[in-house]
C-alpha cells in the first residue's frame, strides 16, 4: 500500500479521489507537529502543534504578522519549515509534494486570479493546469455562469466587483475538487454583508466533506467556524471552541482576548 501511494506521488497526474482517501480514514486532515520557521533569527512560527479533523471548519486567527500566512505556506508546500512537520492526511507535505498538490486547494489574499484575464479565461487556465479536459472546463464555466451573472464571465478579473472576484477565485481554487482547502484572508477587502454569503459557501463545502482552514483577522468571522486556532507572535495561544475560550479566559469578546495578548498592539 505504501509503495503504491509513493508511486502515485511520483505521478503528477490527477489523483482519483472520491470521498475518503483509502487507508487514510483515521488520519487527521491537517496535522502540524512542532512546526517552526525562522527568518534569520526571527521565529515567525515557533514550535506550533495542532490537528484539524476532516469536514471541520477552523478559523485561523491572529494579528498581522502573527505567523498565519507562514503556517499556511508551510502546509501547502510553498515554504520549507526550519524544523517540525506538516502533514496532510498523514502525508508529510515536503516528501509528497506532488500528491499533496492534488489534495489541497489554496486561495490567497495576495493573488488568486490573473487580473488581465477574464473570469472565464482564468477558469480555462486554472482548469488547464490542474489537468481538466477541455470538455470539463466548458462545463465548469457554465457552472460558474450560473453562480455569478453571465455578463461577468467575460470581464477582466481586475474590473470585477470584489465580491464577484472573490467568488470566482474560490471557484478557481476548487476546480480540481480538493479535499482540504486553505483560504488565506479570503474576505479581506470584501464588504461585510457579502462576507456572510461567502461563509454560506464555506458551509456548503463542509457539507460536502471538505476540510477548511480559514485565516482571517476579522474577529467577527470566528463565530462561523467550528473551532478557532489563535496564533500570536508565532505561538499558538488557544485552540478550541470559542465558547470555551470565553469561559476559560474570562473574556466576553475576542477583541478583549487580543488586547490582553498585546496591550499596545492592534488586533
Amino acid at each position: 500500500m505504501k509503495n503504491l501511494l509513493r508511486k502515485n506521488s511520483e505521478q503528477p497526474g490527477r489523483f482519483a479521489f472520491s470521498g475518503i482517501s483509502p487507508g487514510r480514514e483515521n488520519q487527521p486532515a491537517i496535522e502540524v507537529k512542532n512546526l517552526t520557521r525562522y527568518y534569520g533569527s526571527f521565529a515567525a512560527v515557533n514550535q506550533i502543534n495542532f490537528a484539524i479533523n476532516r469536514a471541520e471548519i477552523v478559523a485561523f486567527l491572529g494579528p498581522n504578522g502573527a505567523g498565519k500566512t507562514t503556517t499556511i505556506k508551510m502546509l501547502t508546500g510553498l515554504l520549507r519549515p526550519t524544523s517540525g512537520q506538516a502533514l496532510i492526511l498523514g502525508y508529510d507535505v515536503l516528501k509528497n509534494l506532488n500528491l499533496i498538490k492534488n489534495l489541497i486547494g489554496y486561495m490567497s489574499q495576495r493573488f488568486s486570479l490573473y487580473p488581465l484575464l477574464t473570469a472565464a479565461e482564468n477558469i480555462e487556465f486554472f482548469g488547464g493546469i490542474v489537468g481538466l479536459h477541455p470538455r470539463e472546463i466548458r462545463a465548469k464555466i457554465k457552472e460558474l455562469a450560473a453562480i455569478i451573472s453571465p455578463h461577468f464571465l467575460h470581464q477582466k478579473a481586475q474590473d470585477l466587483p470584489s465580491g464577484i472576484r472573490q467568488e470566482v477565485a474560490l471557484f478557481a481554487s476548487l476546480l480540481h475538487d480538493p479535499e482540504i482547502i486553505f483560504l488565506d484572508e479570503p474576505t479581506s477587502g470584501v464588504a461585510p454583508e457579502r462576507r456572510r454569503e461567502f461563509w454560506m459557501k464555506i458551509y456548503e463545502l463542509k457539507r460536502r466533506g471538505k476540510t477548511l482552514l480559514v485565516s482571517t483577522h476579522n474577529l467577527d468571522e470566528a463565530e462561523y467556524a467550528d473551532r478557532v486556532i489563535i496564533i500570536h507572535e508565532g505561538q499558538i495561544r488557544f485552540q478550541g471552541e470559542l465558547a470555551i475560550l470565553f469561559c476559560q479566559e474570562g473574556v466576553n469578546t475576542l477583541e478583549e482576548f487580543f488586547r490582553r495578548l498585546s496591550p499596545y498592539g492592534t488586533a
Binding site: P12, L78, L79, Y106, R110, G128
Partner: protein, 381 residues
C-alpha cells in the same frame, strides 16, 4: 500537453492585453539601431587636412585638387608667396602653425609639398612629400595612411611611367567599398535580437513573482518544464516578428542585403531567438523583481554581444581569456552567420556548426531554467 497548452494560451492572452510593453519591445530596438547605425560608423568623413604648398607649381596644385576632389578630406591649403627671404620665414611659420593645429586637434594631418617638387619630378628625380598624421587614434591613423596612399598612387603613376616589375591588383571580396555599414549593421541586428528575446522572457516569471501569482503555479500540479516551456514558446512568435521588423528596418534604412537563402536566415534566426529566450527565462527564474530581470537581460546581452562577439573588436585581438569567453556568447555565432549571409551569400551547410552550438546553448539554458525553477519551487527560501 493540455497543461502546457493552458500556460501558452494564458501567456498569449497576456501579451495581447498588454500592448504597452509590446510598443516598448518594438520601439526600443528600432531606436537603438537607428542611433547606433549612424553613430557607429568607422568610415571617415571630412578629415581636416592642411596642405602646405611650398612649390606653388601647376603640378603641386594638381595634387591638392586631387585631395580636394576626394569626399574624404576637407582641405585647407597654405601657399607660400612673396620674396625669397620672406618665403623662408613664412615656411617656418607655417610649419609651426601646422604642428600647433595638429596638437589642438584642429586638423588630423598635414602635407608638405617641398619647394622643388615639380622641378625634381620633371627631371625624373623622386621628390619627397611629407605627411604628418595625428596618430592618437590608431584606427583613424591607419585608415588615413591608406587613403592618402591611394591618392598618391593615382597621382604619380599615370603621370610618369614608372615601370614596376609586377603589378599588384587588390580586389576586396564581399564588401568592395570596404564600407563599414554593411559590417556594423549585422552586428547590431544580432545584438538587438538577442536583447529583445531575452528581455521578453526575463519579465514573465519575475512579473509573477512580484504579483505573487507564482505561488499558484508552484502549488499547482504543473510540472516545471510545462511552466518554463509554456512561458517561452509564445514569445518565440513575438521575437520573430520583432526580428523581422529589425531586418526590414535595416534593409530600408541601411541597405542591409541578404545574399544567401532567406530560409537559412529564418532557420538560424529561430534558433538564435530561442537562445535569447532561454537566457531570458533563466534570468527570470533567478531575478527577484522585474527591474532586476530587465537590467540583467539588457546588460547581459548587449555588452557581450557588442564587445565579445567580433562585432567591434575582431576576436583575434582579444586576450585568451576573453576569447575563450567569446565562444560562450551567442552573438558570436549568429554574427558569423549573419555576416556571411549578408555579405557572401553562403548556404546552410556552412553554418551547421554555428547553428548546432546555438541550439546546444539554448537547450542547456532551458534545462538550467527548469532545474532552477524546480529548486525554487521546492525550497522557497
Amino acid at each position: 500537453m493540455e497543461r502546457l497548452k493552458a500556460v501558452i494560451v494564458k501567456e498569449f492572452i497576456h501579451i495581447r492585453r498588454d500592448p504597452r510593453s509590446l510598443v516598448i519591445i518594438f520601439a526600443l530596438p528600432l531606436v537603438m539601431i537607428f542611433i547606433f547605425g549612424h553613430v557607429l560608423s568607422f568610415d571617415l568623413k571630412k578629415i581636416e587636412t592642411l596642405i602646405i604648398d611650398l612649390d606653388r607649381s601647376p603640378l603641386s596644385r594638381d595634387l591638392i585638387t586631387r585631395f580636394a576632389a576626394a569626399p574624404l578630406y576637407k582641405i585647407y591649403s597654405l601657399e607660400n608667396q612673396g620674396h625669397a627671404e620672406k618665403r623662408a620665414a613664412a615656411a617656418q611659420d607655417y610649419l609651426q602653425s601646422a604642428e600647433r593645429w595638429l596638437r589642438q586637434g584642429k586638423i588630423k594631418q598635414y602635407l608638405i609639398i617641398p619647394r622643388d617638387f615639380s622641378r625634381r619630378l620633371a627631371a625624373n628625380f623622386p621628390s619627397p612629400v611629407a605627411v604628418v598624421i595625428d596618430g592618437a587614434d590608431a584606427n583613424v591613423a591607419t585608415r588615413l595612411y591608406q587613403y592618402n596612399e591611394r591618392i598618391f598612387k593615382s597621382f604619380f603613376f599615370p603621370t610618369k611611367s614608372i615601370e614596376m616589375p609586377f603589378e599588384v591588383k587588390i580586389k576586396m571580396f564581399f564588401n568592395p567599398e570596404i564600407a563599414s555599414t554593411p559590417f556594423i549593421i549585422p552586428g547590431l541586428v544580432a545584438a538587438l535580437m538577442l536583447m529583445i528575446s531575452a528581455l521578453l522572457t526575463s519579465l514573465s516569471l519575475a512579473r509573477e513573482k512580484e504579483t505573487g501569482s507564482i505561488e499558484l503555479l508552484f502549488i499547482s500540479p504543473l510540472r516545471s518544464p510545462d511552466i518554463i516551456l509554456g512561458k517561452t514558446i509564445p514569445y518565440l512568435l513575438v521575437a520573430l516578428i520583432v526580428g523581422l521588423v529589425i531586418f526590414l528596418f535595416s534593409h530600408f534604412f541601411f541597405g542591409l542585403q541578404v545574399h544567401g537563402s532567406p530560409l537559412v536566415l529564418f532557420l538560424t534566426a529561430v534558433i538564435y531567438i530561442l537562445t535569447g529566450l532561454s537566457l531570458g527565462i533563466l534570468i527570470s527564474t533567478v531575478a527577484p523583481t522585474q527591474k532586476v530581470a530587465m537590467l540583467v537581460a539588457l546588460l547581459g546581452t548587449i555588452l557581450p554581444s557588442i564587445f565579445l562577439s567580433g562585432f567591434i573588436f575582431p576576436l583575434e585581438s582579444l586576450s585568451p581569456a576573453l576569447r575563450a569567453f567569446s565562444y560562450l556568447v551567442p552573438a558570436t555565432y549568429f554574427l558569423r552567420i549573419l555576416r556571411s549571409l549578408t555579405l557572401k551569400g553562403a548556404s546552410l551547410r556552412h553554418f551547421l556548426f554555428e547553428a548546432s552550438v546555438l541550439l546546444a546553448i539554448s537547450l542547456f539554458l532551458l534545462a538550467l531554467a527548469i532545474r532552477k525553477f524546480s529548486t525554487l519551487r521546492r525550497a522557497s527560501a
